[in-house]
Assembly symmetry: C2
Homo-oligomer: 127 residues x 2
Amino acid sequence: MVINIPSISESEWEVMNILWNHSPLTANEVIASLQESTDWKPKTIRTLLDRLVYKNVVGVNKDQKVYTFYPLYSQDECQRAETESFVKRIYGGALKSMLVQFIQEETLSDEDIKELRSILDKKPDEK
Amino acid sequence: MVINIPSISESEWEVMNILWNHSPLTANEVIASLQESTDWKPKTIRTLLDRLVYKNVVGVNKDQKVYTFYPLYSQDECQRAETESFVKRIYGGALKSMLVQFIQEETLSDEDIKELRSILDKKPDEK
DNA sequence: TTAATAAGATTACATTTGTAGTCTGACTAC
DNA sequence: GTAGTCAGACTACAAATGTAATCTTATTAA
């Protein structure tokens, strides 16, 4: 079954990344964490959190006085969903085109390449 | 130098894909082409075209009575730019994570894998 | 006990995007 | 020459997003 994950905006992804890294967290913890990488005001981050809750992408623990927040989907799920729609839009669905383009870039270290090759080598027999 | 390409929205990408496929095209040609894959009204498509022109992503030929439109950036440039920001947001910049995740998917054929491997094999020496 | 504080709830407002519709002026078929 | 048509210009309007500020209420420090 294909889960339908609500759409997560660019800024909201930053918040999700924090929560996937560690959760549950209070709003203040999320704010503290994001203040290292962004210059968003606390209220802004709080709004993003609230919207994620409203969208049912993040859950809230209201047991304690100060709420804590946690993701309702795994990072992996969300990455896959997002990447699928991305690849469709940008590469006409041809995942391979994208891989080819990016393997040819400078971005990968020799280590990375070694690892990728070993993954590829294992691949065809798995069917 | 890193070119800064204006941001292209999801619907606008559909239009760009048409123009990269073949250009220059009149608005009506773009409309005809998109009407096969979408159910957008002609005026909607025209608006998208106009916005792309406004954003300086598409150029216009006003020599003839009926304008023709053409991309101002190559598909490759745009794909790279978009993918870079995408990978940063979704995979924290770790292109490799994404590659690993998708190489492990079912989505690739044996042929694809063979091709990817041959690209990887050529890679490390190029430095 | 009273005033400051802090968390959560509510409200705000501009920009971008999706999705068109109306207005205008030139050309075209009678 | 007059009415319809069509391209382009301009206008519209709701939802999503970015980016917060204000209001309310409970707790805390003096």
